[in-house]
């Protein structure tokens, strides 16, 4: 890498966020909040998440292990933190914003097989670290002022060492003024002693310094604001400036984090280290958002019927999109997670009695499918607003085929390859407008990265709920599916009252179904939750919550 970049000036500057003590401290939210603050000052930001696991991407991982797989417009299956980045800022994420150890090693090994290393011994340093540095530095450009790089995992993990070594080297490649290390750590409050304890933070920083990284700023996740003497102690033991010890206090509303960080002077300190001069941040929209969140005019209960309900991270974007839908209606949304496994024809009415709306999210596999269809039947028969997403839409079609159209044994070929009525079946080909190619698939294809992924256009049918909600003729929504509505059953089902409300531009793929004679019944093949933002709630979620409120009031 050229030493020229070391010179002062305005290049893309890099902020590296690491985490210590334990996982789940909220590095993703901290990164997103820093991005929001910098954007509020007029800077253009982007992000990158570096995940230490060996999977090439999280697409093949179980949601129980990894949480939600977030899909970007360009069809990348990524870490859920990219969802936070998109929700908190105007930055748009894609393939180059998420790398894993697996994808880095894959690239290095591909180069080695191709002979690119000219017979050299391929090693972690410099080959793997150079590959990581190249992945990071590619974010630089005239359209990006600050790139925020989040290193997944916790300092001390063996698998994240190459990433940490790469960011250590980058300070020397890019210069002190162009790089900043922020370490998120934990300061527990011990109730028995009535004290905030700094030792875990001291040890975590010690671990980081042993690798050669001296953090510039410490973000201390804690229950209460750190008093000055605690900050002084942390500063002294961790070799940072006292005003660079920032409280990252627990909050009820995640959209309050940028405001708390600003109050603590984090953005000011970041700019000081990076030698960036900006105007004061305009945080009015964030203040209004938090005010709206904390002062709802009404509340509504939505039942989310899924099979990953024990790990809330599995439905992260969905959860946030429902909250955004509530914000659009100045209402609080209480989310009632219902395990689909537990739903039977006998208990469904009782389990969903409190709900003013039912949502069946995306998922894979047969487990819980019958329970989800019970929830759909309950919503359909009782006029409860229903929102089916991806698998939720497919199951709504199966349920309708079985119980309304009288197609006994109707199913998806995903669950029953020998079903007499495959109303949902494997998508064998589709046109990819991004590559301008027809994609071909069959049952033997690899599982990783072979679904219909990313944003595709959908034409809306006038007069439908969806058309009214979007108030547009054509929309782009993100997809992640392998199975699709079987067009052979289009006529049979529409004759019985199923409404096709959205289609791919060539008319081949059914994207949205609705029901006649139902207050609000929408099933969409795409994932609208990935495009919902707190400042711009997704139209379908806003409309769904409005319908649930209507149901509650009547």
């Amino acid at each position: 890498m050229s030493r020229r970049r070391k010179k002062h000036g305005f290049h893309t500057k890099f902020i590296f966020i690491t985490g210590g003590v334990l996982s789940s401290l909220g590095k993703g939210l901290a990164s997103a909040s820093i991005g929001a603050l910098l954007e509020a000052r007029g800077l253009r930001v982007t992000f990158q998440k570096l995940d230490p696991y060996i999977n090439v991407d999280p697409g093949t991982m179980n949601p129980f292990q990894h949480g939600e797989v977030y899909v970007t417009d360009d069809g990348a299956e990524t870490d859920l933190d990219l969802g936070h980045y998109e929700r908190f800022t105007s930055a748009r994420m894609g393939r180059r914003n998420n790398y894993t150890s697996g994808s880095i090693y894959y690239s290095v090994i591909t180069k080695e097989r191709r002979g690119d290393y000219l017979g050299g011994t391929v090693q972690i340093i410099p080959h793997v670290t150079d590959e990581i540095k190249a992945a990071i530095v590619q974010l630089a450009g005239s359209d990006v002022d600050v790139a925020i790089i989040e290193i997944g995992g916790t300092v001390g993990d063996i698998e994240s060492l190459p990433f940490l070594e790469a960011i250590r080297q980058l300070r020397y490649d890019l210069g002190r003024e162009n790089t900043l290390y922020i370490h998120l750590t934990f300061v527990p409050y011990i109730k028995a002693a009535g004290e905030l304890k700094t030792k875990p933070t001291q040890h975590s920083v010690k671990e980081l310094r042993a690798i050669g990284i001296q953090p510039d700023i410490l973000l201390c996740r804690t229950e209460r604001f750190l008093p000055p003497e605690v900050k002084k102690k942390i500063a002294l033991f961790c070799n940072v400036e006292e005003d660079a010890v920032i409280t990252a206090k627990d909050v009820d509303c995640i959209y309050e984090i940028p405001l708390i960080f600003h109050q603590e002077g984090l953005d000011e300190k970041v700019l000081e280290f990076l030698n960036i001069w900006t105007r004061e941040p305009d945080l009015k929209s964030w203040e209004e958002l938090v005010k709206k969140y904390k002062n709802p005019q009404d509340e509504v209960t939505i039942a989310v019927v899924g099979k990953y309900v024990d790990l809330k991270d599995s439905y992260k974007s969905l959860h946030e999109a429902l909250v955004h839908g509530g914000l659009a209606n100045e209402s609080k949304v209480n989310i009632l997670y219902v395990s689909a496994d537990e739903l039977t024809p006998d208990n469904v009415a009782e389990k969903l009695a409190e709900a003013h709306g039912v949502l069946v999210p995306g998922g894979f596999g047969y487990r819980g499918a019958e329970g989800k269809m019970e929830a759909i039947r309950y919503a359909r028969e009782n006029g409860v607003p229903f929102f089916g997403i991806c698998l939720g839409m497919q199951l709504a079609v199966v349920e309708f085929a079985r119980n309304v159209a009288g197609l006994s044994g109707a199913n998806s070929t995903e669950f029953d390859p020998d079903t007499p009525h495959p109303v949902i079946y494997l998508m064998r080909e589709w046109f990819n407008y991004r590559t301008q190619r027809v994609e071909i698939r069959d049952e033997k294809c690899d599982k990783g990265g072979t679904m219909r992924l990313g944003a595709y256009p959908c034409r809306l049918v006038p007069g439908t709920i969806s058309h009214r909600a979007y108030n547009q003729e054509e929309v782009f929504e993100r997809h992640r599916h392998r199975y699709e509505f079987n067009n052979q059953y289009r006529e049979i089902l529409t004759d019985k009252g199923l409404k096709i409300a959205g289609l791919s531009p060539d008319g081949e793929l059914v994207e949205i179904v609705e029901l006649e004679d139902h207050p609000w019944f929408v099933g969409c093949q795409f994932h609208p939750e990935f495009r919902s933002r707190p400042m711009e709630p997704h139209p379908l979620f806003a409309s769904f919550i409005a319908a649930a409120l209507e149901r509650k009031r009547t």
Partner: protein
């Protein structure tokens, strides 16, 4: 045969050393080319000096600020990259400020140069980098 005074050897050596030093100095001094020059004005629109950008040996870029008189306090020299977003090139306490901006610097990266008081935060001068004058 008359022998040359040995002192001449010393004189030759001194001349050689001086020639060597001069050659090295002239190489180091490089070739400075003025890229553009702008007027630095006070908030009351009075001229208080000049901002010049030079290219050295067609590589390194240099900013030079020459003020007509000393300011009331030390100031930050801030180069604004675009409206509201800038970076500090250094501090100016006298009347002359010279700083290397590196070879990758281009005038397109600056929309204005502002002198802001270190203590007071007051703006003492501003030079608008007019695109028509950019070299």
């Amino acid at each position: 045969m008359k022998r040359r005074n040995p002192l001449w050897n010393l004189v030759f050596i001194v001349i050689l050393i001086m020639a060597f030093l001069w050659a090295r100095y002239s190489k180091e001094r490089g070739h400075r080319v003025l890229l553009a020059e702008f007027t630095m004005t006070s908030p009351s629109k009075q001229s208080i000096g000049r901002v010049s950008f030079f290219s050295k040996d067609h590589q390194d870029k240099i900013i030079q600020i020459q003020l007509s008189e000393r300011l009331k306090e030390e100031v930050y020299v801030i180069l604004y990259y675009r409206e509201g977003i800038g970076w500090m090139a250094g501090k100016l306490s006298g009347t002359v400020f010279v700083r290397s901006l590196g070879p990758s610097f281009t005038l397109e990266k600056v929309s204005s140069v502002i002198l802001r008081g270190v203590k007071s935060g007051l703006v003492y001068g501003e030079a608008v980098i007019n695109s028509s004058q950019k070299g």
